[in-house]
């Protein structure tokens, strides 16, 4: 398998973590988002959304959207499971992953911040925007997880929720925030103690 990503992309971080958790081997191709490589005709032919990550699987098919890719990996390689067996718990795990994937990440990714600059916001305003979005979003995740057992988001093993929450905490720091949500920080500690997350994690900006 070939993962098309970018080292500092938190969405690619998610898929790397899932691949490492599953023990799957893959080649990684870096596309420089700062140079606009995701908008080249070659890349758009592979992923018309012009986004990373994309996973080229054996046979040449290309899968897009990090959550769809993680669910695919769980479908074809069920162990270790990224989702619990109980349907209600599965829904709760997915809801936390989606709270990051829908309500936080797209509103603070590079394309959106560039668009905000294009509409006239200055650097300080874009920074305030980013802090509002991430602050509000992660605060909701903290509450959603507050009564769940640790050390991971939902108990003794990492799930899709951890795979989405931990890269988002990384992004919060990248944008100059100091995350102070106790459950989320404990989850981050538990995840980064695992080889899969430690290897998947982009180098720290600091």
């Amino acid at each position: 398998m070939k993962l098309h990503g970018f080292l500092s992309s938190s969405a690619a971080y998610r898929v790397r973590a899932a691949l490492y958790l599953k023990g799957l081997s893959f080649e990684e191709v870096d596309h420089d988002l700062f140079a606009g490589e995701q908008n080249s005709p070659e890349y758009l032919a592979m992923n018309p959304q012009g986004l990373v990550p994309a996973l080229e699987i054996d046979g040449g098919q290309v899968l897009t959207q990090s959550m769809a890719i993680c669910e695919y990996l769980d479908d074809v390689c069920p162990k270790p499971a990224l989702l619990p067996a109980d349907p209600v718990l599965r829904a709760k795990v997915r809801a936390v992953a989606l709270a990051v994937a829908c309500e936080i990440h797209p509103l603070q990714n590079r394309m959106t911040l560039l668009r905000l600059r294009g509409f006239g916001l200055d650097k300080a305003q874009v920074s305030a925007w980013t802090h509002q979005i991430i602050g509000r979003g992660l605060a909701a995740c903290e509450i959603m997880l507050s009564s769940e057992p640790g050390p991971f988001c939902f108990g003794a093993t990492p799930t899709l929720a951890d795979i989405f929450v931990v890269p988002q905490i990384h992004n919060a720091r990248r944008y100059g925030m100091t995350p102070a949500w106790p459950k989320l920080l404990a989850v981050e500690d538990a995840c980064l103690a695992l080889d899969a997350f430690a290897r998947a994690r982009p180098p720290s900006a600091s």
Copy 2:
């Protein structure tokens, strides 16, 4: 089951369509998003994200995030299936749903548009923003679906992809756009010919 939604919410439209497709009976509770009812302490205790939809299931548990809710309904009530059996095809269906749920909807929902106004954009700029987001996003969906068989997004029966695409086309019109993507319009026609979508659809703004 009790669906907490709002008639004009396209995310609640998705869950209504899924519930009707499954033939499940439910009660609907409307929360007036314009009046800010989603931010009341009572609502936040149920869904700390302050978003609709939320589905109260038997036993009193509350599920949030429309995609997690639809996947839950597919888990507990597998027929008719909202996802194909083949893992690659499942990933492609989920990717289209997520292309709407992550890349379009959160960037054009009411909360984001109010935030843009708060950062100084005028009405015309917010309208331009909305058209850019929806135009770019649905154009990508059209390409992602271009080689898939009709009449639905992925063949002979509606899937999660249809459940997400059709409410987004509805939103495009609500924001004054005239969708002209042939595959998406054909999908919309096929879906609205079904009782489930016709009943789930909010009344047209026009």
